[in-house]
Protein backbone atom coordinates (compact mmCIF):
# COMPACT_ATOMS: atom_id res chain seq x y z
CA UNK A 1 0.00 0.00 0.00
CA UNK A 2 2.94 2.22 0.59
CA UNK A 3 3.58 2.69 -3.11
CA UNK A 4 7.23 3.57 -2.60
CA UNK A 5 8.75 0.37 -1.26
CA UNK A 6 8.26 -3.25 -0.30
CA UNK A 7 5.95 -4.05 2.62
CA UNK A 8 7.50 -3.02 5.93
CA UNK A 9 10.19 -0.89 4.31
CA UNK A 10 9.96 2.67 5.50
CA UNK A 11 9.92 4.94 2.49
CA UNK A 12 12.92 7.24 2.58
CA UNK A 13 11.31 10.00 0.64
CA UNK A 14 13.19 12.57 -1.38
CA UNK A 15 12.69 15.36 1.19
CA UNK A 16 14.04 13.96 4.38
CA UNK A 17 11.20 12.50 6.48
CA UNK A 18 10.07 8.93 6.85
CA UNK A 19 6.63 7.41 6.84
CA UNK A 20 5.72 3.76 7.18
CA UNK A 21 2.08 3.19 6.36
CA UNK A 22 0.10 0.02 5.76
CA UNK A 23 -3.07 -1.96 6.50
CA UNK A 24 -4.28 -2.22 10.09
CA UNK A 25 -4.07 -5.84 11.25
CA UNK A 26 -7.46 -7.32 12.13
CA UNK A 27 -9.54 -4.20 11.48
CA UNK A 28 -10.59 -2.15 8.46
CA UNK A 29 -8.25 0.80 7.98
CA UNK A 30 -4.60 1.81 8.11
CA UNK A 31 -1.82 2.40 10.59
CA UNK A 32 1.15 4.72 10.16
CA UNK A 33 4.39 5.62 11.86
CA UNK A 34 6.81 8.47 11.20
CA UNK A 35 5.93 11.91 9.82
CA UNK A 36 3.19 13.00 7.44
CA UNK A 37 4.62 15.96 5.52
CA UNK A 38 5.34 17.06 1.96
CA UNK A 39 8.15 14.47 1.92
CA UNK A 40 5.80 11.56 2.53
CA UNK A 41 2.59 12.96 1.02
CA UNK A 42 2.34 10.39 -1.77
CA UNK A 43 2.49 7.35 0.55
CA UNK A 44 -0.12 8.92 2.85
CA UNK A 45 -2.50 9.83 0.03
CA UNK A 46 -2.15 6.42 -1.58
CA UNK A 47 -2.98 4.78 1.75
CA UNK A 48 -6.05 7.01 2.16
CA UNK A 49 -7.20 6.20 -1.37
CA UNK A 50 -6.92 2.50 -0.51
CA UNK A 51 -8.81 3.08 2.77
CA UNK A 52 -11.59 4.84 0.92
CA UNK A 53 -11.77 2.06 -1.72
CA UNK A 54 -12.23 -0.63 0.95
CA UNK A 55 -14.43 1.46 3.27
CA UNK A 56 -17.83 0.06 4.25
CA UNK A 57 -19.04 1.43 7.60
CA UNK A 58 -16.26 2.36 10.03
CA UNK A 59 -12.58 2.64 9.06
CA UNK A 60 -9.77 3.13 11.57
CA UNK A 61 -6.62 5.24 11.19
CA UNK A 62 -4.11 4.32 13.88
CA UNK A 63 -1.55 7.13 14.35
CA UNK A 64 0.05 6.48 17.75
CA UNK A 65 3.50 6.22 16.12
CA UNK A 66 3.13 9.38 14.04
CA UNK A 67 5.22 12.23 15.46
CA UNK A 68 3.97 15.03 13.22
CA UNK A 69 1.31 15.70 10.59
CA UNK A 70 1.14 18.93 8.59
CA UNK A 71 -1.89 20.85 7.33
CA UNK A 72 -1.96 19.12 3.94
CA UNK A 73 -1.77 15.73 5.68
CA UNK A 74 -4.81 16.53 7.82
CA UNK A 75 -6.54 17.99 4.76
CA UNK A 76 -6.06 14.74 2.82
CA UNK A 77 -7.68 12.82 5.68
CA UNK A 78 -10.55 15.30 6.07
CA UNK A 79 -11.31 15.37 2.34
CA UNK A 80 -11.18 11.57 2.22
CA UNK A 81 -13.72 11.43 5.06
CA UNK A 82 -15.92 14.10 3.44
CA UNK A 83 -16.08 12.06 0.24
CA UNK A 84 -17.10 8.77 1.88
CA UNK A 85 -20.64 7.85 0.86
CA UNK A 86 -21.50 6.43 4.29
CA UNK A 87 -20.07 5.80 7.75
CA UNK A 88 -17.11 7.44 9.45
CA UNK A 89 -13.39 7.35 10.12
CA UNK A 90 -12.06 6.83 13.65
CA UNK A 91 -8.61 8.39 14.08
CA UNK A 92 -6.80 6.75 16.98
CA UNK A 93 -4.15 8.49 19.07
CA UNK A 94 -3.08 11.14 16.55
CA UNK A 95 -0.34 13.71 17.17
CA UNK A 96 -1.64 17.05 18.55
CA UNK A 97 -1.54 18.83 15.18
CA UNK A 98 -4.40 16.70 13.88
CA UNK A 99 -7.19 17.80 16.26
CA UNK A 100 -5.84 21.37 16.12
CA UNK A 101 -6.04 21.57 12.32
CA UNK A 102 -9.40 19.78 12.21
CA UNK A 103 -10.75 22.26 14.75
CA UNK A 104 -9.50 25.26 12.74
CA UNK A 105 -10.71 24.18 9.30
CA UNK A 106 -13.44 21.55 9.88
CA UNK A 107 -14.97 22.45 13.26
CA UNK A 108 -17.99 20.15 12.85
CA UNK A 109 -16.85 17.28 10.71
CA UNK A 110 -18.97 14.38 12.00
CA UNK A 111 -17.39 11.90 9.66
CA UNK A 112 -14.18 11.94 11.69
CA UNK A 113 -14.07 10.81 15.29
CA UNK A 114 -10.83 11.38 17.17
CA UNK A 115 -9.77 8.98 19.94
CA UNK A 116 -7.03 10.98 21.73
CA UNK A 117 -3.63 9.84 22.91
Amino acid sequence: MDGTGAKGDPARARWGALLDVGPLPGRPGIRASGEITVSTRLSWENALTELSRRHTDVSYVELSEVRFVDVAGVTALAVTALNLPVGRVVVERPPPQLPRVLDLFWPSLHRIEVAPR
Binding site: A17, T37, A72, T75
Partner: protein
Protein backbone atom coordinates in the same frame (compact mmCIF):
# COMPACT_ATOMS: atom_id res chain seq x y z
CA UNK B 1 -25.05 58.52 6.95
CA UNK B 2 -25.74 57.61 3.36
CA UNK B 3 -24.46 54.07 3.66
CA UNK B 4 -27.70 52.37 2.59
CA UNK B 5 -27.87 51.13 -0.96
CA UNK B 6 -29.76 48.64 -3.05
CA UNK B 7 -27.11 47.63 -5.57
CA UNK B 8 -24.37 45.04 -5.17
CA UNK B 9 -21.43 47.36 -4.60
CA UNK B 10 -18.96 47.05 -1.74
CA UNK B 11 -19.18 49.99 0.66
CA UNK B 12 -16.23 50.72 2.95
CA UNK B 13 -16.34 54.05 4.79
CA UNK B 14 -13.94 55.17 7.53
CA UNK B 15 -15.69 56.78 10.49
CA UNK B 16 -13.56 59.42 12.26
CA UNK B 17 -14.86 60.01 15.79
CA UNK B 18 -13.86 62.35 18.60
CA UNK B 19 -15.78 61.13 21.68
CA UNK B 20 -17.50 58.10 23.18
CA UNK B 21 -20.85 59.81 22.69
CA UNK B 22 -20.20 60.46 19.00
CA UNK B 23 -18.91 56.90 18.58
CA UNK B 24 -22.03 55.44 20.15
CA UNK B 25 -24.44 57.68 18.22
CA UNK B 26 -22.99 56.95 14.81
CA UNK B 27 -22.29 53.24 15.22
CA UNK B 28 -25.70 52.55 16.77
CA UNK B 29 -27.41 54.47 13.94
CA UNK B 30 -25.39 52.43 11.42
CA UNK B 31 -26.41 49.15 13.07
CA UNK B 32 -30.09 50.17 13.33
CA UNK B 33 -30.14 51.19 9.66
CA UNK B 34 -28.95 47.68 8.78
CA UNK B 35 -31.41 45.93 11.09
CA UNK B 36 -34.26 48.01 9.67
CA UNK B 37 -33.27 46.88 6.17
CA UNK B 38 -33.23 43.26 7.28
CA UNK B 39 -29.46 42.97 6.92
CA UNK B 40 -27.39 40.61 9.11
CA UNK B 41 -25.16 42.81 11.30
CA UNK B 42 -21.87 42.06 13.06
CA UNK B 43 -19.77 44.32 15.28
CA UNK B 44 -16.05 43.55 15.70
CA UNK B 45 -14.41 46.32 17.76
CA UNK B 46 -12.21 46.49 20.91
CA UNK B 47 -13.94 45.41 24.14
CA UNK B 48 -14.78 48.82 25.69
CA UNK B 49 -16.23 50.05 22.38
CA UNK B 50 -18.19 46.81 22.07
CA UNK B 51 -19.87 47.69 25.36
CA UNK B 52 -20.71 51.22 24.16
CA UNK B 53 -22.48 49.83 21.10
CA UNK B 54 -24.19 47.04 23.03
CA UNK B 55 -25.51 49.47 25.64
CA UNK B 56 -26.57 51.97 22.95
CA UNK B 57 -28.55 49.31 21.10
CA UNK B 58 -30.44 48.09 24.17
CA UNK B 59 -32.69 45.17 23.24
CA UNK B 60 -31.73 45.48 19.54
CA UNK B 61 -28.33 44.04 20.54
CA UNK B 62 -30.00 40.61 20.54
CA UNK B 63 -30.01 40.63 16.74
CA UNK B 64 -26.33 41.55 16.36
CA UNK B 65 -23.20 39.36 16.40
CA UNK B 66 -20.49 40.83 18.67
CA UNK B 67 -16.76 40.01 18.56
CA UNK B 68 -13.93 41.53 20.58
CA UNK B 69 -11.50 42.64 17.87
CA UNK B 70 -8.53 42.59 20.28
CA UNK B 71 -8.95 38.80 20.35
CA UNK B 72 -10.59 37.80 17.05
CA UNK B 73 -8.45 40.35 15.19
CA UNK B 74 -5.31 40.33 17.34
CA UNK B 75 -3.45 39.37 14.16
CA UNK B 76 -4.74 41.81 11.51
CA UNK B 77 -3.99 39.20 8.82
CA UNK B 78 -6.76 36.89 10.02
CA UNK B 79 -9.53 39.51 10.15
CA UNK B 80 -10.56 39.09 6.50
CA UNK B 81 -10.86 35.27 6.55
CA UNK B 82 -11.72 34.74 10.22
CA UNK B 83 -14.03 37.67 10.97
CA UNK B 84 -15.28 39.56 7.90
CA UNK B 85 -15.63 36.81 5.31
CA UNK B 86 -16.62 34.29 7.98
CA UNK B 87 -19.67 36.48 8.72
CA UNK B 88 -20.39 37.59 5.13
CA UNK B 89 -20.06 34.07 3.71
CA UNK B 90 -22.43 32.71 6.37
CA UNK B 91 -25.09 35.14 5.04
CA UNK B 92 -24.85 34.74 1.28
CA UNK B 93 -28.22 36.32 0.41
CA UNK B 94 -28.58 40.09 0.37
CA UNK B 95 -26.41 42.80 1.89
CA UNK B 96 -24.37 42.18 5.04
CA UNK B 97 -23.33 44.98 7.39
CA UNK B 98 -20.24 44.95 9.65
CA UNK B 99 -18.47 47.41 11.93
CA UNK B 100 -14.77 46.53 11.97
CA UNK B 101 -12.29 48.45 14.12
CA UNK B 102 -8.86 46.90 13.54
CA UNK B 103 -6.78 49.97 14.46
CA UNK B 104 -6.74 51.17 18.05
CA UNK B 105 -4.34 53.29 20.08
CA UNK B 106 -2.58 50.30 21.71
CA UNK B 107 -1.42 48.74 18.42
CA UNK B 108 2.39 48.34 18.41
CA UNK B 109 4.84 49.65 15.83
CA UNK B 110 5.30 46.06 14.61
CA UNK B 111 1.53 45.57 14.27
CA UNK B 112 0.58 48.80 12.53
CA UNK B 113 1.95 48.04 9.02
CA UNK B 114 -0.08 44.80 9.06
CA UNK B 115 -3.16 46.78 10.16
CA UNK B 116 -2.79 49.25 7.30
CA UNK B 117 -2.28 46.47 4.75
CA UNK B 118 -5.32 44.67 6.13
CA UNK B 119 -7.50 47.78 5.74
CA UNK B 120 -6.25 48.16 2.16
CA UNK B 121 -6.83 44.50 1.26
CA UNK B 122 -10.45 44.58 2.46
CA UNK B 123 -11.14 46.50 -0.77
CA UNK B 124 -9.73 43.66 -2.87
CA UNK B 125 -11.38 40.93 -0.79
CA UNK B 126 -14.93 42.35 -1.11
CA UNK B 127 -14.87 44.03 -4.52
CA UNK B 128 -18.28 43.64 -6.17
CA UNK B 129 -19.94 42.07 -3.12
CA UNK B 130 -23.02 43.49 -1.38
CA UNK B 131 -21.23 44.11 1.91
CA UNK B 132 -20.93 47.31 3.98
CA UNK B 133 -17.97 47.59 6.38
CA UNK B 134 -17.70 50.68 8.58
CA UNK B 135 -14.25 51.23 10.13
CA UNK B 136 -14.12 53.58 13.12
CA UNK B 137 -10.95 55.61 13.79
CA UNK B 138 -10.39 57.51 17.05
CA UNK B 139 -9.28 60.97 15.89
CA UNK B 140 -8.24 62.02 19.40
CA UNK B 141 -5.85 59.10 20.09
CA UNK B 142 -4.51 57.86 16.74
CA UNK B 143 -1.42 59.39 15.10
CA UNK B 144 -1.81 61.77 12.17
CA UNK B 145 -0.15 59.35 9.74
CA UNK B 146 -2.57 56.59 10.79
CA UNK B 147 -5.53 58.86 10.03
CA UNK B 148 -3.88 59.88 6.75
CA UNK B 149 -3.54 56.18 5.80
CA UNK B 150 -7.26 55.67 6.51
CA UNK B 151 -8.01 58.19 3.75
CA UNK B 152 -5.98 56.07 1.33
CA UNK B 153 -7.53 52.73 2.36
CA UNK B 154 -11.18 53.90 2.38
CA UNK B 155 -13.12 55.18 -0.65
CA UNK B 156 -15.21 57.44 1.60
CA UNK B 157 -14.76 59.01 5.02
CA UNK B 158 -17.32 60.20 7.56
CA UNK B 159 -16.29 63.17 9.71
CA UNK B 160 -18.64 65.06 12.03
CA UNK B 161 -21.50 63.04 10.63
CA UNK B 162 -21.07 63.86 6.95
CA UNK B 163 -19.72 61.42 4.41
CA UNK B 164 -17.44 62.51 1.58
CA UNK B 165 -15.40 60.80 -1.11
CA UNK B 166 -11.73 60.38 -0.21
CA UNK B 167 -9.69 61.95 -3.01
CA UNK B 168 -6.65 60.05 -1.76
CA UNK B 169 -8.21 56.57 -2.00
CA UNK B 170 -5.60 54.21 -3.54
CA UNK B 171 -5.46 50.97 -1.55
CA UNK B 172 -2.70 49.38 -3.64
CA UNK B 173 -0.36 52.20 -2.61
CA UNK B 174 -0.75 51.26 1.06
CA UNK B 175 -0.16 47.56 0.40
CA UNK B 176 3.06 48.51 -1.41
CA UNK B 177 4.20 51.12 1.11
CA UNK B 178 3.91 48.77 4.09
CA UNK B 179 5.66 45.95 2.27
CA UNK B 180 8.58 47.06 4.43
CA UNK B 181 11.97 45.34 4.63
CA UNK B 182 12.27 43.27 7.81
CA UNK B 183 15.71 43.89 9.28
CA UNK B 184 17.66 40.78 10.24
CA UNK B 185 17.94 40.38 14.00
CA UNK B 186 21.61 40.10 15.09
CA UNK B 187 21.15 37.71 18.04
CA UNK B 188 18.65 35.35 16.39
CA UNK B 189 19.45 31.66 16.02
CA UNK B 190 19.43 30.86 12.30
CA UNK B 191 19.38 27.58 10.38
CA UNK B 192 19.73 27.18 6.63
CA UNK B 193 17.59 24.41 5.16
CA UNK B 194 17.24 22.70 1.81
CA UNK B 195 14.78 20.14 0.46
CA UNK B 196 16.25 17.35 2.60
CA UNK B 197 16.17 19.26 5.89
CA UNK B 198 12.50 20.09 6.51
CA UNK B 199 12.27 17.91 9.65
CA UNK B 200 15.51 19.44 10.96
CA UNK B 201 14.27 22.98 10.28
CA UNK B 202 11.05 22.25 12.15
CA UNK B 203 12.83 20.70 15.14
CA UNK B 204 15.34 23.56 15.25
CA UNK B 205 12.51 26.11 15.46
CA UNK B 206 10.61 24.12 18.09
CA UNK B 207 13.72 23.67 20.27
CA UNK B 208 14.56 27.38 20.11
CA UNK B 209 10.95 28.47 20.70
CA UNK B 210 10.71 26.14 23.71
CA UNK B 211 13.99 27.46 25.14
CA UNK B 212 12.55 30.99 24.83
CA UNK B 213 9.52 30.01 26.92
CA UNK B 214 6.85 28.90 24.45
CA UNK B 215 4.83 25.94 25.79
CA UNK B 216 1.75 23.80 25.20
CA UNK B 217 -0.55 24.62 22.32
CA UNK B 218 1.40 27.75 21.40
CA UNK B 219 4.54 25.66 20.89
CA UNK B 220 2.57 23.16 18.80
CA UNK B 221 1.20 26.07 16.76
CA UNK B 222 4.76 27.32 16.18
CA UNK B 223 5.74 23.87 14.90
CA UNK B 224 2.78 23.76 12.51
CA UNK B 225 3.40 27.29 11.24
CA UNK B 226 7.13 26.74 10.69
CA UNK B 227 6.34 23.50 8.89
CA UNK B 228 3.95 25.29 6.52
CA UNK B 229 6.37 28.15 5.79
CA UNK B 230 9.44 25.95 5.24
CA UNK B 231 7.40 23.60 3.05
CA UNK B 232 6.32 26.61 0.97
CA UNK B 233 10.00 27.56 0.60
CA UNK B 234 10.90 24.11 -0.68
CA UNK B 235 7.89 23.75 -2.98
CA UNK B 236 7.32 27.33 -4.20
CA UNK B 237 10.17 29.49 -2.87
CA UNK B 238 13.20 28.28 -4.76
CA UNK B 239 13.81 25.05 -2.85
CA UNK B 240 15.66 26.35 0.19
CA UNK B 241 15.68 29.06 2.82
CA UNK B 242 16.57 30.06 6.36
CA UNK B 243 14.59 29.83 9.56
CA UNK B 244 15.36 32.17 12.45
CA UNK B 245 13.93 32.33 15.97
CA UNK B 246 14.29 35.00 18.64
CA UNK B 247 12.49 36.69 21.52
CA UNK B 248 11.07 40.18 21.30
CA UNK B 249 8.98 42.07 23.90
CA UNK B 250 7.35 39.03 25.50
CA UNK B 251 6.83 37.23 22.22
CA UNK B 252 8.69 34.51 20.34
CA UNK B 253 9.29 35.44 16.72
CA UNK B 254 9.92 32.89 13.95
CA UNK B 255 10.96 33.99 10.50
CA UNK B 256 11.36 32.04 7.27
CA UNK B 257 13.20 33.59 4.30
CA UNK B 258 13.47 32.18 0.81
CA UNK B 259 14.04 33.19 -2.81
CA UNK B 260 10.39 33.17 -3.87
CA UNK B 261 7.96 36.03 -4.33
CA UNK B 262 4.36 36.27 -3.10
CA UNK B 263 2.48 37.77 -6.03
CA UNK B 264 -1.08 37.35 -4.69
CA UNK B 265 -1.78 40.07 -2.11
CA UNK B 266 -4.69 38.04 -0.69
CA UNK B 267 -2.62 34.86 -0.21
CA UNK B 268 -3.48 33.39 3.19
CA UNK B 269 -6.53 35.66 3.58
CA UNK B 270 -9.16 33.67 1.72
CA UNK B 271 -11.18 31.24 3.84
CA UNK B 272 -10.78 27.64 2.65
CA UNK B 273 -13.71 25.68 1.23
CA UNK B 274 -14.30 22.44 3.12
CA UNK B 275 -13.37 20.21 0.19
CA UNK B 276 -10.44 22.34 -1.01
CA UNK B 277 -7.14 20.42 -1.17
CA UNK B 278 -4.38 23.07 -0.98
CA UNK B 279 -4.03 26.71 0.01
CA UNK B 280 -4.31 26.45 3.78
CA UNK B 281 -0.64 26.91 4.79
CA UNK B 282 -0.43 30.71 5.09
CA UNK B 283 -4.02 30.80 6.32
CA UNK B 284 -3.01 28.54 9.20
CA UNK B 285 -0.10 30.85 10.06
CA UNK B 286 -2.51 33.82 10.14
CA UNK B 287 -5.02 31.92 12.28
CA UNK B 288 -2.59 30.77 14.98
CA UNK B 289 -0.22 33.75 15.22
CA UNK B 290 -0.67 37.03 17.12
CA UNK B 291 0.93 38.90 14.24
CA UNK B 292 2.29 38.07 10.78
CA UNK B 293 4.59 40.39 8.86
CA UNK B 294 5.61 39.81 5.26
CA UNK B 295 8.21 41.44 3.03
CA UNK B 296 8.22 40.20 -0.54
CA UNK B 297 10.24 41.41 -3.56
CA UNK B 298 11.83 40.03 -6.74
CA UNK B 299 14.82 39.04 -4.58
CA UNK B 300 12.88 36.94 -2.09
CA UNK B 301 10.34 36.77 0.68
CA UNK B 302 10.50 36.95 4.47
CA UNK B 303 7.52 35.86 6.57
CA UNK B 304 7.74 36.57 10.28
CA UNK B 305 5.18 35.42 12.83
CA UNK B 306 4.81 36.34 16.50
CA UNK B 307 3.46 34.22 19.34
CA UNK B 308 2.95 35.61 22.84
CA UNK B 309 4.69 33.75 25.68
CA UNK B 310 2.30 32.76 28.45
CA UNK B 311 -0.55 35.05 27.34
CA UNK B 312 -4.09 33.70 27.38
CA UNK B 313 -5.39 36.53 25.19
CA UNK B 314 -3.43 35.29 22.21
CA UNK B 315 -4.74 31.77 22.66
CA UNK B 316 -7.92 32.72 20.85
CA UNK B 317 -8.43 31.68 17.28
CA UNK B 318 -11.37 31.96 14.94
CA UNK B 319 -13.65 29.06 14.24
Amino acid sequence: MSTATTDGAFIHPALFYRSAAEYTDRTVAFVREGLAAGEPVAVAVPGPNLELIRAGLGTDARDVTFLDMTEAGRNPGRIIPGVLRAFADAHPRGRVRIIGEPVWAGRSAAEYPACAQHEALINAAFEGRPVTILCPYDETLLAADVLADALVTHPTVITAGSERVSERYDWRAVVARYNEPLARVPDADVLRFGPGQLPEARRFAVDRAASLGLTGRRLQDAELAVSELTTNSVVHGGGSGTVAVWAEAGQVVCEVRDGGRLTDPLAGRRPAERGQIGGRGLLLVHYVADLVRVHTTEEGTAVRFYLGVGGTLADSSPK
